[in-house]
């Protein structure tokens, strides 16, 4: 599965007047495309800090001590604020815990919904144009170097540019009409039901206006054609009158609406021609479209396009892509050699500053050269290599100075503490460990970056022969098409309003037309949360981070919102990070679950691993402190509170609250023990020498009950 987001060895602390609070202490996870990862834990376990780091909105007193958050070939911890504007809200969106504090109280809901859409719309147009142009330029360059005749290469690329935009124009016109027809049907059907029941909702007249508007929009040669146009316009002009003069008898309005829906349904089911081919024909043939049915027209256009342009273009593009990939492979082999050679510089006992930076510079250049300008999915390791190594080096050389100072501070504090102790006082404070940055750790980090890149290159070189360049060429053409459609997509105020109302409807807000002009305080908690979700979705993000989105909502709304997020995830292939402490919600949403405690991931697995085969005592405690519908015994609450992270415990952070804790739990931190391919947990209980421990009774009973319940359910079915 494609990795959307990789978090590696993330450590975050906060500077406070009492000392350094270690909020996140080295966590790793991957987020795949279309996957939901749930992060579970008590408040203060570092879940929200992790998500804020991903979104680049950490508080000012935070220190990112180490780690990488890799998204789309970039390390989000190291890019500039300016670059982050293109990612935050657009690619990675967040739904916050408290809807009231994430809405502006003095701006109408409609404005808040459309503001970002309009702003982003302009930026996206420019950005798409830029990507399209660069790619076409690179392609034409590569074609020339691959040996294609220069004039031909340039000409075909220019031609592609021209007709591609015609294609997008045609296609978006069709899509608009088609979508309008479908929306009108979706809007009209419940209304007909209500009219037949003689109880239309209060906003019925708005809805009728909307349906009429959309029906008018759906007139298009391939949706609602000329033959139906007459009747459609008659109906659309008759319906509002029929409704407003109904006086309790809605049969006529309902009948007219039903007829309209019939026409639209027929229209929406009509086959569409291939606009890509049509665009080429209209641009270059200089002739009108021949009059024939859609399937025949498609074949005709295909022949024309293939003969005239496409086959040659694909062949040229393929040679170019193959050539460029080969070149990149060559460079990779060189880079592997260089990596092996320069490695020693970074592995010596004490790093030499000038030698390190020189080696880094030459390596960065070599690695940069391996980037294939024609690849579409960016290879994150290559892209992040220079920044990662540089930042590690920077920390290393500043740490040498800082560490000396930190040791001094520690010794001063310790002397003071001992003095107080000696004078018979009982100090109300503890000596925090010296804030020394581990130099060996940094060296290990650098070695790891090298290892990963080295391994990656070897893998790429090895798998070169199995690459399917035909498929890659098709993917490249798709990439160009999607960028071209990005250029053509305009967002005007009225389009934004339409889209906002549709979104509001989609997230389940009744009477969106009226609500559009209201202020946040006029909404109830659940409704506000829906608005926040709508705003997050307005930008059509890649990754959605949900920070306890349903904690403040009641069950029905909660389950509606979860369904909504699930539905949108399916439709838009979203990757979701879901932060919550409600395990019922996790069971519903998550593919994978990470249980966090005191800044570490203590257990990681698929949701079934966590709920049926939990291995960490903290997970047991969480699961058994929550009643389900059959619980009668006393609940097992977790005693005590999470540890103060200014003085992080030496051993397992959960040990003081854990009734299964052993001596070793207080002394050494447990490593992650792998239980199965997908499941791992950090507890000494999994060590082969550890005594065998059963989960608490309440939990075992529940698991048994659940499996029994499922079996009877299956039998009934």
């Amino acid at each position: 599965m494609e990795n959307k987001l990789q978090v590696r060895n993330l450590r975050i602390s906060f500077r406070t007047s009492n000392g350094k609070v270690q909020a996140v202490r080295g966590i790793d996870f991957d987020l795949h495309k279309g996957e939901t990862l749930a992060i579970v834990g008590e408040s203060g376990s570092g879940k929200s800090v992790t998500s804020k780091a991903i979104l680049g909105i950490l508080a000012g007193n935070s220190i990112v001590e180490s780690g990488e958050i890799i998204y789309d070939g970039r390390d989000l911890l190291k890019i500039s604020e300016e670059d982050f504007h293109h990612i935050r809200g657009d690619k990675i969106a967040m739904i916050f815990q408290d809807p009231m504090s994430s809405l502006n109280p003095i701006v109408r809901i409609g404005k808040q919904l459309t503001e970002a859409m309009i702003l982003k719309g302009k930026v996206r147009q420019k950005e798409s144009r830029r990507l399209f142009n660069t790619y076409i330029k690179n392609l034409s360059k590569a074609m020339v170097s691959a040996g294609v005749d220069a004039a031909r290469a340039e000409g075909s690329c220019r031609n592609f540019d021209k007709f591609e935009f015609k294609h997008v124009e045609l296609e978006s016109a069709y899509n608009m009409s088609h979508d309008a027809a479908i929306e009108a049907i979706d809007d009209a059907e419940p209304l007909i039901f209500e009219l037949e029941k003689k109880q239309p909702s209060r906003d019925a007249s708005y809805r009728i206006k909307d349906i009429v508007k959309r029906s008018k929009m759906s007139i298009h040669p391939y949706v609602v054609p000329e033959s139906d146009k007459q009747r459609t316009s008659e109906l659309t002009s008759a319906i509002p009158g029929a409704f407003s003069h109904a006086k309790g008898d809605y049969t006529k309005a309902a009948a007219l609406l039903s007829e309209l829906v019939e026409i639209l349904k027929k229209g929406a089911a009509r086959p569409a021609p291939n606009f890509f081919r049509m665009g080429y024909y209209l641009t270059f043939s200089g002739k009108e479209l021949p009059d024939m049915p859609v399937d025949k027209l498609n074949d005709f256009l295909k022949d024309y396009l293939d003969r005239d342009f496409m086959i040659a273009f694909i062949a040229d593009a393929m040679t170019a892509i193959e050539f460029s990939a080969k070149e990149s492979k060559q460079k990779m082999a060189e880079a592997v050699e260089a990596l092996a050679k320069e490695r020693a510089v970074f592995a010596s006992e004490k790093l030499d500053k000038s030698a390190c930076y020189a080696a880094y510079k030459s390596l960065a250049e070599k690695v940069k050269a391996t980037i294939d300008p024609l690849e579409i999915t960016k290879d994150s390791l290559t892209y992040t290599f220079p920044t990662s190594v540089k930042s590690e080096l920077d920390t290393y050389f500043t740490a040498i100075k800082k560490n000396a100072k930190a040791v001094k501070v520690y010794e001063r504090d310790k002397r003071k503490y001992e003095r107080e102790l000696a004078s018979g006082k009982k100090p109300g404070w503890e000596v925090a460990d010296a804030a020394v940055i581990d130099l060996e750790l940094i060296k290990a980090n650098i070695a790891r970056i090298f290892d990963r890149l080295d391994e990656h290159y070897r893998e790429m070189i090895k798998s070169f022969d199995t690459r399917d360049f035909k498929a890659e060429t098709i993917a490249a053409i798709d990439y160009l098409m999607s960028n071209a459609s990005g250029v053509a997509a305009k967002v005007t105020r009225s389009i934004a309003k339409d889209r906002a109302i549709k979104l509001m409807d989609e997230v389940g807000i009744a009477e969106p037309h009226k609500r559009y002009n209201q202020y946040p305080f006029e909404f109830s908690g659940g409704m506000r949360q829906r608005i926040v979700i709508a705003i997050a979705l307005a930008a059509n993000p890649d990754i959605l981070i949900c920070d306890e989105p349903t904690t403040a909502l009641d069950v029905t709304i909660q389950s509606q919102i979860l369904e909504l997020i699930n539905k949108l995830k399916e439709e838009r292939h979203l990757s979701v990070i879901f932060i919550t402490h409600d395990l019922g919600v996790v069971a519903n949403m998550a593919d994978n679950v990470a249980v966090m405690y005191a800044g570490k991931i203590v257990e990681y697995g698929t949701s079934e691993d966590i709920f049926y085969r939990a291995a960490h005592p903290y997970t047991w405690a969480l699961l058994s402190s929550m009643p389900d519908l059959d619980t009668n015994e006393k609940l097992e609450s977790i005693p005590g509170t999470p540890p103060n992270m200014i003085y992080p415990p030496k051993g397992d952070a959960f040990a003081p609250r854990n009734k299964y804790a052993m001596q070793i739990d207080f002394e050494r931190q447990p490593p992650m023990f792998k239980i199965s391919e997908t499941h791992s947990a950090a507890t000494w209980l999994l060590h082969p020498d550890a005594p065998k421990v059963e989960p608490p009774k309440i939990l075992r009973d529940r698991i048994e009950r659940m499996s029994r319940g499922r079996n009877t359910n299956n039998e009934q079915q």
């Binding site: 008590e42 909660q558 009643p627 619980t631």
Partner: protein, 396 residues
Amino acid sequence: MSSNDEVLLRVEHLCQYFKIGPNAYTKAVDDVSFDIKRGEVFGLVGESGCGKTTTGRSIIKLYDITSGSVYFKGIRIAAGKKSYKEAIAKAKADLKEGKIDKAECDRIIAENRAAIKTADHDQKNCDREYSRQQIEKAKSEYLPKIAAAQGENKAKLEAEYKDVMRKARKTKLVTQIQMIFQDPIASLDPRMTVREIIAEGLIIQGERNKKVIDDKVYEMLELVGLVREHASRYPHEFSGGQRQRIGVARSIIMNPELIIADEPVSALDVSVQAQVINLLNDLRDKFGLTIMFIAHDLSVVKYFSDRIGVMYYGKMVELADSDELFLNPMHPYTKSLLSAIPLPDPKYEKARRRITYNPLAAHDYSVDKPSFRELKPGHFVMCNDAEYERYMKELK
């Protein structure tokens, strides 16, 4: 699970309307009736905005109710007048149309005017009534003793009598109903120490002895699982769960008979939720408290309550024992609500389908109006005749 059938709180036809414009009202609570028996936990569930909290607040007299009455320990503590006024208006209209004669109309008007008067009186004077009862009780207890006592003993008894009388004069019936609020942060005054917060009720009630107050505060703190040293701290120094414990301590120091817990655990972490629920359960066993538990987390309500009422848009749609409700949900809204509960079981969750509730499609109330009927002992559902028969069949 309640050992006796003594009704502690009776709510009859409670309506709470809020004015939102000229002649326009939001019917937050509309004709809700139920009983709470001594010693039981009564759960109230429903989606946000359905009037659960308003019901709780109306009972404790934070609002003046529009119509209906609330009886606590047999004394009417709140009464609304709208229904009587409507009856008078209807009588007048009927007279105009000639449906009833003048004498009949006058009789109805006089009756309802009298009812309004009693309602006003009850609304205002329920506390005085109770305080009078307490004074009588104190008098009958102490006066003979004082008369019989001699010398030093007499003086001591007299002082005690004075103290008790003062408290009896200040006592209020409504203070025996206490409330725990949803948000433990917002419901504690940030500028008061925990001691001041917890003792405030006692002081208002007329307790002057500092030692008694301190002892009581310490006792309460220990009862809810905090320690004495916490008394001199401020609310911001506590975690969410501890703050909610302070809220609980504040309400039980008044020695209440009924606690209205308005979503006490909704804002807390799971592990802390369990702590607070266990605490409430312990207190209930210890003092025989009666609790009205308002929440939207159905698993918690099921775990904690003996009987559950389901509300939808200001109306009570179903009321039954908690096991019965989860076993045989009858009203379509209850069914939809139960189908929305998330459980910590991924396989079940993947297969779970939420039932949607659309009142327009589910009921046909155009001719036959619904009312609250008993399907079987203790199981009430809002339905009309046709539905009543269908539900009865389904139950068998």
